[in-house]
């Protein structure tokens, strides 16, 4: 069985999420780097045939072609025989589902804000960044409470897929002008995430360990 193939762009935060999940689970991944910017290769005929949405990342695995970031992360985490990011416990699994949905539905504003700031795509940066700050506040309150309960991560005592899905939006928020001053619990959580064996960074997330 060959390794799943990730169609990847290094500066895209969802591509980074996929690489990060693979790195932290030891799942082998073949990368194909796509010239998203400035080449717009992801909108070429070949790529539009593969993914009519014209987005990255795309994960190809045996007969699967996955285009939704959440599905890609779940698939990669499920390929780990130890399932270290997807523990069996039903309550923890339900919390993971909840935070993954939060990421997909509510934290997508962070990615949009960052793309406007970095790639000068059109949009209301101030409004999206303010909305991102609101979402990070929801996360900050949650991690504050988790810490008091003696739980170091979003869904429980151990790192799960939820943490890796949420981490980039926080770590990259300075790219769109949102500092970490108001989020001490998230700062400490991000530090714990960084200590995960296999952890990797991307441009914009300093690697200082």
């Amino acid at each position: 069985m060959s390794a799943p193939l990730l169609h990847n762009y290094d500066l895209d935060e969802d591509c980074y999420r996929a690489r990060l999940v693979a790195a932290c689970t030891g799942v082998a991944l073949d990368l194909r780097n796509v010239d998203m910017f400035p080449g717009a290769e992801h909108r070429s005929d070949a790529y539009m045939r593969l993914n009519p949405l014209g987005t990255l990342p795309i994960l190809q695995d045996e007969t699967l072609v996955l285009t939704q970031p959440e599905a890609i992360l779940r698939r990669l985490a499920a390929l780990d025989p130890e399932r270290r990011l997807l523990p069996e416990d039903e309550v923890i699994a339900a919390r993971i589902d909840d935070w993954l949905a939060f990421w997909a539905q509510h934290l997508a504003v962070a990615k949009a804000a960052r793309e406007i700031a970095l790639m000068a795509t059109p949009g209301d940066l101030a409004a999206l960044s303010a909305r991102t700050a609101r979402m990070l506040r929801v996360m900050e309150d949650h991690m504050t409470h988790q810490t008091i309960r003696g739980l170091g991560f979003f869904a429980g005592p151990e790192l799960t897929l939820a943490d890796l899905a949420l981490f980039p939006a926080f770590a990259l928020s300075r790219d769109h002008g949102l500092d970490h001053d108001a989020f001490p619990a998230l700062r400490l959580w991000a530090r714990r995430v960084r200590l995960t064996p296999g952890f990797i960074t991307m441009p914009g997330i300093p690697d200082y360990h």
Partner: protein, 215 residues
């Protein structure tokens, strides 16, 4: 702000050894960091090289390093290493600007404004950290709300009061006009349930303060 004043920057617990964080007091940008020996420092958040934020950098032993070109500063604020010129004996004249800094009552405090001789260092009783919380509301709004609580007193940047879940000592940090951070502590021995109840109290206060602004 008139004269020198001690202002709380963070809960001591939240600045782990070997880490740094950016913050602000009335628009002045400050980096608060803790060396690996555990000592806290508060400096102007501005690298003497090109003015980038030191809080984006990282702590190495008793030095803080700037993220951009890696200049390293010792705990006295003096530049000790310039990676682009590894053989250079760095002149002792390149300095980051430091605030007076102390740790008491479970918080890290800086003497403001920059360059003033710190007045008498406050000595607060031991306290347990609850949480820091940022409110998008003006200082007067927030102070009025705190003063509505039982036995509330505000002295300098410290508010003490009794909420339904116990006595609180709260460091009040004016971040900028319209934004205030509260560093909330309570008495030692509080249970996790109590700490969570105090969090709820603080988050309710935040909702009310921000509603007041929106109204």
């Amino acid at each position: 702000m008139t004269g020198t004043q001690w202002v709380p920057l963070a809960l001591a617990r939240d600045i782990a050894p070997g880490t740094s964080a950016g913050t602000m007091v009335e628009d002045a940008e400050i980096v608060v960091w803790r060396d690996t020996d555990g000592r806290a420092h508060a400096w102007e958040d501005r690298c003497p090289h090109r003015g980038m934020k030191l809080s984006f950098g990282f702590v190495r032993g008793d030095h803080i390093a700037c993220l951009y070109h890696g200049w390293e500063f010792d705990e006295g604020g003096i530049c000790r290493k310039i990676p682009a010129h590894p053989d250079l004996e760095v002149p002792g004249s390149i300095c980051a600007a430091r605030y007076g800094c102390t740790e008491t009552g479970g918080m890290i405090w800086a003497a403001l404004p920059l360059g003033t001789d710190p007045i008498e260092v406050p000595a607060l009783p031991d306290a347990v950290p609850v949480r820091s919380i940022t409110l998008e509301a003006g200082l007067i709004t927030v102070a009025d709300m705190l003063l509505n609580e039982e036995n509330a007193v505000i002295e300098g940047a410290l508010a003490t009061l009794d909420c339904a879940h116990g006595p609180l000592a709260i460091g009040v940090q004016p971040i900028r006009p319209g934004t205030v951070a509260l560093h909330i502590t309570t008495r030692p021995g509080a249970s996790a349930e109590t700490l969570l109840a105090i969090c709820d109290w603080a988050e309710t206060l935040r909702r009310a303060a921000e509603k007041e602004i929106a109204a």
